[in-house]
Each structure stands twice: as C-alpha cells, then as structure tokens.
Symmetry: C2
Subunit: 301 residues, 2 copies
C-alpha cells in the first residue's frame, strides 16, 4: 500500500527531478505534478516528460496533492509556501528537501496553516543542476533525515519515511537543531572550504590559472567538484545555518593553525599522528556503504 497517490514537486532542479524519476521508477502508479518558477525549466520538464502534469502556478500544482515536496533553495521555502498556501488541501502533508532544517521549519510554520509538516533532507546530490541532471537512483543507500516537530502527527512522519525508503533511502528522525549541527560539519563546512580553496588558487600571481588546472590531479581537482555546486542553493545554506557553520569553521581554523605551527617548527610527529588517524575515517565510510571502495572514487584511468 503506497503512502501517497498524488505527489506534487515544487522546484524541478537536480533533487526535484531526481524525485520525479525515482517515483516513476519505483512507484509508477503515483501521479506526479510538477511546478517550477522558471518557464524554461517547466518547458524542459514537459519536453522530457518528467511528470504526469506540469502546472503553470504553484497553487494550481497542489490543489489535489496528498504530499507536496518543496525542492527550492532554502531562502525560497517560505515565499513558495506562502504562494501555494491558499490552494493546499487541508489534509495534504508538506515536506521539503532543504539542507538546513530549523530555519525551514520556522518558515513553513509561518506560511502554512498545515499541522502536518514533515521536513526532510536527503543527504545526496551531485555537482550538477537542473531538470536534466536528475536520476532515479540518486537516493539509493543514502540517508534521508526527517525533522518533524515533537507535536507532528506520527502517521505523517511514518508515511514520509515510507516514501523515502521506497526510493532506496535509509531514514533517520532527529531534531532540526541537531540536524543543522551535524550537517554543518559533514556538508556545509566542506563546501565552504572547497569554495574557498578554489577561489584562493584562482587568485594567485606567481602561479597561473592554467598551471592550477594542468596540475590539479595532485588533489585540487577533488575540491573543484563540490565547488561547482549550485551557487544560489549554497548561498542560502550558509545564511540560514549561520551559527552552526561559524562554530564548525572556528574549530577548523584552530586545528589548521595548530598544523600550520607544526609545519613551521618542523614537528613531523604531530603531522604523522594526525595523518595516521584520518585514514580510519575513510575506512569506516566505505564499510558503511557511504562511498565507493574503488580507489580514486572509481575514476577511470
């Protein structure tokens, strides 16, 4: 028994379009309605037959939905929710896929009359954007974190969890504030650092941009992948999860200063100790199925 018969996806970028494809693939009887604020994206969605129906307004997209999933940048969650609030069936469950949860939860509570709001964050993605970048198996073996408020209808939480499991995800429930702290370190800080180093390398005088690109296989290229992620999405994440990101950034900077000092004073033992410790983390990630075991991410050689 499927938890939902009619699902509306608002925002047809990488995640929204992956959801549409995943639903088509794994629960093909579900009727999918899509909407995107961009007329060009709506046109593409129609051309590639992404959804059963592409509506021309957020309101028209949700009129008969069981589940509405907002897949827009974090800063747009509140405005989009306000835009469709009047057309939303009273019994519909509203969810989202945003990367920080406390601010989204507050925005959705402020904009919607709904009691049944079940925020979600599938920890999955690629560096590509847009309706053609999505694929059905993006969420397979990845974690999807639900952050409902304590008074949320448990049945709604169960149904949204069931939905994600059918797309191949593993589901965890936690408080929004804790989510934001965890993701600040496992996702937001890595993106911030990657963006920074790619910027630093682009702005040198003694080393040309062309040299940076030619010799990027020494490690730098790994950082450029996540530094190619969607700029709007990531701007919003840092603004919305400011406190947790600044806290993690402070800790990182302290640790970096300590290594800087070890290098300056030639303290090889301190370097060796850290470099030996970090290998174990990689091993655990592979053992728990959160990355490829193949060397070099399985890049072709």
């Amino acid at each position: 028994m499927l938890p939902f018969a009619r699902i509306t996806i608002v925002g047809l970028g990488l995640i929204g379009s992956s959801l549409a494809r995943g639903i088509r693939t794994f629960t093909p009887t579900v009727r999918i309605t899509g909407y995107d604020a961009s007329a060009e994206v709506r046109e593409t969605a129609r051309r590639i037959d992404l959804c059963d129906d592409v509506a021309d307004s957020a309101g028209a997209a949700v009129t008969d939905a069981d589940l509405v999933i907002l897949c827009v940048p974090v800063g747009m969650m509140g405005p989009v929710a306000a835009e469709l609030a009047d057309d939303l069936p009273a019994e519909a469950i509203v969810s989202d896929v945003g990367s920080c949860k406390a601010s989204i939860l507050a925005a959705l509570r402020g904009a919607l009359p709904q009691q049944r709001i079940v925020p979600a964050h599938p920890v999955a993605g690629t560096e590509n954007s847009g309706p053609e970048a999505g694929f059905a198996t993006l969420f397979r073996d990845r974690w999807c974190i639900l952050t409902p408020e304590a008074d949320c209808d448990p049945l709604a939480v169960e149904q949204v969890g069931d939905f994600w499991r059918r797309l191949g995800a593993q589901v965890e429930v936690m408080e929004a504030a804790h989510h934001d702290l965890v993701l600040a370190v496992t996702s937001h800080l890595p993106h911030l650092i990657a963006y920074t180093i790619v910027g630093t390398a682009s702005d040198l005088e003694d080393v040309t941009r062309s040299e940076v690109i030619k010799y990027s296989a020494g490690g730098f290229r790994d950082f450029t992948r996540i530094a190619a992620s969607d700029p709007t999405m990531w701007r919003d994440v840092f603004l919305a999860n400011k406190d947790a990101v600044l806290e993690m950034l402070q800790r990182f900077s302290e640790d970096l200063s300590s290594l800087q000092r070890a290098i300056r004073w030639g303290d090889g033992d301190a370097l060796f100790d850290l470099f030996s410790r970090t290998r174990a983390v990689r091993r655990s990630i592979i053992e728990q199925g959160q990355d490829d075991a193949k060397p070099d991410f399985g890049r072709s050689h």
Copy 2:
C-alpha cells in the same frame, strides 16, 4: 628506439609498482630491477612478479642500470641515494618521483657524483599504498614535471621525458622552485586541508563519529579520500616544502576569514559571487582531461 634498456626502481609502493607495471605493459623489452627497504615488500614484489629481478640491497639493484628511479618518501631520497652511490654506473641517469623538487634536487646533488640527475614528479596517485596498489595506467593523461638544473645534459632530460611519454604521461619542464610553488597550491594545500577537516570532524563533542560517517555523503566523504593518503609521504612533503606551503596556507586562511565575515554579516552577494566564479574552474579541468566529466567523479549510484 627505447631510451633505456635496464631500469631500476627503488621503492615499490604505489608509484614504484605502477611504474614497474607501466614499463611491463608499454615497453615490455625493458629489464626491470626493483628494490625496497622492507623485506615484506620485496617478498610481495617477488610473489606478484612485479619486476624481472628484486635485489636485496639498493647497491645490488643499481649496478647495471641505465636509469634509476627513486620512489621513496621525500625525506628518504638523500639517505637512499647515499646508500647506492658507490654502486651506481657513472653513466646512469638518476631520477625520482617526489612531490617537492628543490629539497630533493639538493639532497641528490649532495649524495651522488652523477651529473645526470633529472628529478621528476608525475602528478598522479590514489589514496592507496603499497606494491599491490599500483596499476599500469596510473600516469595516463597526467602531467609529469621534470625539474633538471640548468646545466643538466639536455639528452638526459629528453630521454627521461621520452620514458614518461611512453607510459602515457604529458611532460613539462620547469624550475624546481616554481614546481614547489605550483604544487603547494594544487596538491599540498588540498591535502593539508583535507587532513585537517577530517581531524576536526573526528573530535567533536556534540556530533558523534558515527553521525559524521553516516551523513558524509553531503560533501565530507570527498575529503576523506585524500586524507587517507600515506602518512609518511605527506609528513615529509610538508617538512620539505615548508615555505611554499605556509605561504599558500596564509592566503587560504585570509580568504576563509573573509568568507567567515560574509556569513556572519549576512552578505549573500559576496558568497554568491565567489560560488559562481569557482564553477568555471571545474569546467576547465574537465575540458583539459584532468578529471572525469561524469557527475560525482563517476561514483556508482
């Protein structure tokens, strides 16, 4: 006409064993002698038939070599060169594969009577170590940088370049000091940052190690790959290329502070500007064949 008939590889880890396999595959008539300071590694090399001969001392390994390639950690280059100096044929060319060149050039000049020293750095690798981690195509389409001194025999430089091209590499010649500056940003700084963030994430109180691993697909896991690289190799790199690494680290820290300030003051435009700029770098790296065009490094989904 092959540039060398008898090649000796000293150090049979990832790079040394990839060289042996590459020579076997692409120039199968060349006779390969190998040596490693570890008896266990020599035993493995014999078992997997990595070389035509595995010698039991560095001196015995080089007695009839045309080309000797040192594939040991940067800090061991000088001691290993001293160990084999007496047995080295006067006409043999000596090369290496170390990640910083000025300190190695000085160490080799100090330890060897040879005039024909052609230091090399193939900008290639994986996070794995040891004689069984190597493969013949590791150097294909990667750059190999040669850093001979100005008075080095041009024929020797040409022969070493020819050798690397036969393994599939592209060859560039530059001064050792410039190499060390370029690689400080494209390789050494990325490794330092990756090691740091993996350490930071391992040491939190409010977020458990288990949570870091579970939700690592949000970006963190990308950093764990290069933070799983060989600890001895990387300790030596940072000690040997101290000045250039500290200079790049200083620039990175300034840029990070500037982003930190933008987040604290909610300056979304500054964030968006940087995040838009960095996308172009990724595109250039892919266009120039230095990374896979497939999303997510081509990881399986």
